[in-house]
Symmetry: C2
Subunit: 389 residues, 2 copies
């Protein structure tokens, strides 16, 4: 824990099969006007929409709706949502959906009453809002992003083909989040496993950086082992409550700021994945899956000791009689085998990456310094080419 | 994660060598009157007292002092502190010391303006305060209790020889805590290692319970591995910043409510240790150390699968060709060897337990139901006798 840091995470999390019973007392904390934010209508099929509306009615709320939040929320949609929040003078933004919906709700909270252009201020200049913001609450229906307990918000500018993440401070975190693992059962299997890999990638982005001896690394090894174990069970039986609940909880702690404390982090897999997503609109977790093994093979020589530790502590590779390279490679092989086992996309061509759009993706990849190797554009191109297997 | 639960931990933690630089902005959040709480004066020797007083003066605070908080804070002292808090109309209680000091400050916060008898209300009936309470802030100088980020408060009633812990809700948690690992360097080695074992015991009390498959167990295995690793380094070189900082962070997360979420917990080692401490005034961590191995040998047959897992995942016992009992026993042997290596008390007679006071200790041991075996008084006596090696 070598660095100085502040840890502050005020979100109230209500977890479990009965977590929705906590919603009425949460609603009572806020004013009358609620902007209900959701996506493409899956919550209407599942019955969750009716349940939430009934609770809002019982709480005497005046409800405005902002539906149709897409998997990669766009700047145009954000402008529309900010207008709606102003129009209804929202006292609470209630996000009912996955991480994109919660991401979007935080952006609406910041954008609704901000002076100037939200894209410029929050996503290009990474400012914190100084004007009035609107409390966000979240009912989560999909796991992966950790958005329910952090300040993350990713918005796609379709005009410039930029997909950029802003990390807001604790004041902008969801005030409360309701996590019922059963709400995640209705998700199609490919989206479920994409979420699993998003979780794994969040952990690995924070794990594969630095050479210090950090408690966070031990916590991450625990989270990874839990995810690998429960992921195998959930793929065979998506309604295994224990597996799905462990994964939901792991997802929250993988990206709620804890495991990054006191250490450096990487995030280049996300930068490359987001550049692919900005061009192809492919599912976020799948873009990460397609480039991860090529990326880690590319940087492994520059952080060999950590890759060796990963192989032994996370994938139970027996190190006896092997070189560090052999051990590290065996760890990545076991990781790739697990990825194939749960059904992840391992070839970025399946996501729409082509020879034609590759230069634009490379150009739109934001370069970060925290990993084991500072990538050049040529490195990014090499990684993506290796992912076009 | 089978149970329903709410996780909410609003404490702002400032960690690192420069963490004290955050104190002025914390002080600015509260009113003028500060009750400064500390222990036996070690903070005067270390210079921390002068540093804190200077920051309080610079912030324009009116300071009253409540010194002399003992390692096992007494009910008499609590009554005195509550009176002082009322007398100075404290807007903030600033605890500068170890876990006992922070425990005590929370109790003073609850007791200052409460109607009726604090011992009855908070420690015997486990009520939450409903009257005005006073915000607590903490500058931590010793690790172990986790008091800096939880609602725990242990008070000893010397008249009845009862040492009882109350766990307050999030509203009573320290509002902010300042954790500089260097502040822990001045502690004598026996108190340092007692703190290390307090941390280990906190984790094990939450780990050795239940048969479910819980992400919390994986997190605890990570925390334990980090503690074992860094504890060995710190005992050889108490000023190894990386080891001491990892241990300080591990201590916070061992007992800030996270790893108990969604599972049952035990806490009988603490109940027995606190009964010993209530009679002998022995150092808390040492009372836990003395009874832990005898206790775990006693209950192991009732939770064998978990003890086997502990041996393999935490102590790297190779399970090949061994029975579960052999594996589990080897785990406890390695744990005992580590305890001897870092210099813990393994014999409760060294702490003042005698044939004469044993019946009273057994009688004062509070029985909890969450472990692998519901103990009887005869079990408690057998465990303590086995600890009088």
């Amino acid at each position: 824990m070598l660095g100085n840091f502040t840890y502050h995470n005020p979100t109230r999390l209500h977890f479990g099969k009965d977590a929705m019973q906590q919603l009425p007392q949460e609603l009572a904390r806020y004013g009358k006007n609620v902007l209900l934010v959701y996506g493409g209508g899956s919550i209407k099929k599942s019955g969750l929409y009716e349940q939430v509306r009934a609770m809002l009615d019982a709480a005497g709320k005046t409800v405005a709706e902002d539906a149709g939040v897409m998997p990669n929320p766009t700047l145009d949609k954000l402008r529309e949502g900010a207008q709606r929040a102003r129009d209804c003078n929202a006292d609470l933004i209630l996000s009912v959906g996955g991480g994109s919906c919660c991401d979007y709700s935080k952006a609406v909270s910041a954008a609704a009453w901000c002076e100037g252009e939200p894209w410029e201020r929050f996503f290009l200049r990474h400012e914190e809002p100084t004007e009035k913001t609107i409390p966000v609450g979240c009912v989560l229906t999909m796991v992966g992003t950790g958005s329910e307990m952090n300040g993350g918000s990713v918005i796609t500018n379709t005009a410039t083909k930029q997909k950029i993440g802003k990390v807001f401070g604790p004041a902008m975190f969801s005030h409360f989040s309701i996590l019922n693992p059963e709400f995640t059962y209705t998700l199609p299997k490919n989206q479920m496993v994409a979420g699993f890999f998003d979780i794994m990638s969040h952990i690995l982005e924070q794990y594969f950086s630095g050479t210090d001896d950090n408690t966070s690394d031990y916590l991450m090894e625990g989270l990874l082992r839990s995810l690998i174990h429960s992921g195998r069970i959930a793929v065979k039986n998506p309604q295994d409550y224990e597996a799905r609940s462990n994964i939901m909880w792991t997802a929250t702690w993988a990206l709620n700021t804890l495991v990054a404390k006191g250490k450096t982090t990487d995030w280049m897999v996300h930068m490359i994945g987001q550049a692919i997503g900005g061009t192809t609109d492919a599912t976020h977790g799948m873009t990460l899956a397609a480039v991860s093994i090529p990326y880690y093979r590319h940087v492994m020589p520059h952080g060999l000791a950590k890759f060796r530790r990963y192989a032994v502590n996370v994938w139970d590779v027996n190190p006896d009689g092997k070189t560090d390279e052999q051990i590290a490679n065996e760890g990545l092989e076991r990781m790739a085998a697990w990825m194939r086992e749960i059904g992840l996309v391992m070839d970025s061509r399946e996501l729409g990456v082509t020879e034609e759009n590759l230069p634009g993706i490379v150009k739109n990849t934001i370069m970060l310094p925290g990993g084991y190797k500072q990538l050049t554009a040529a490195d990014v191109e090499a990684v993506i080419r290796a992912s076009m297997a």
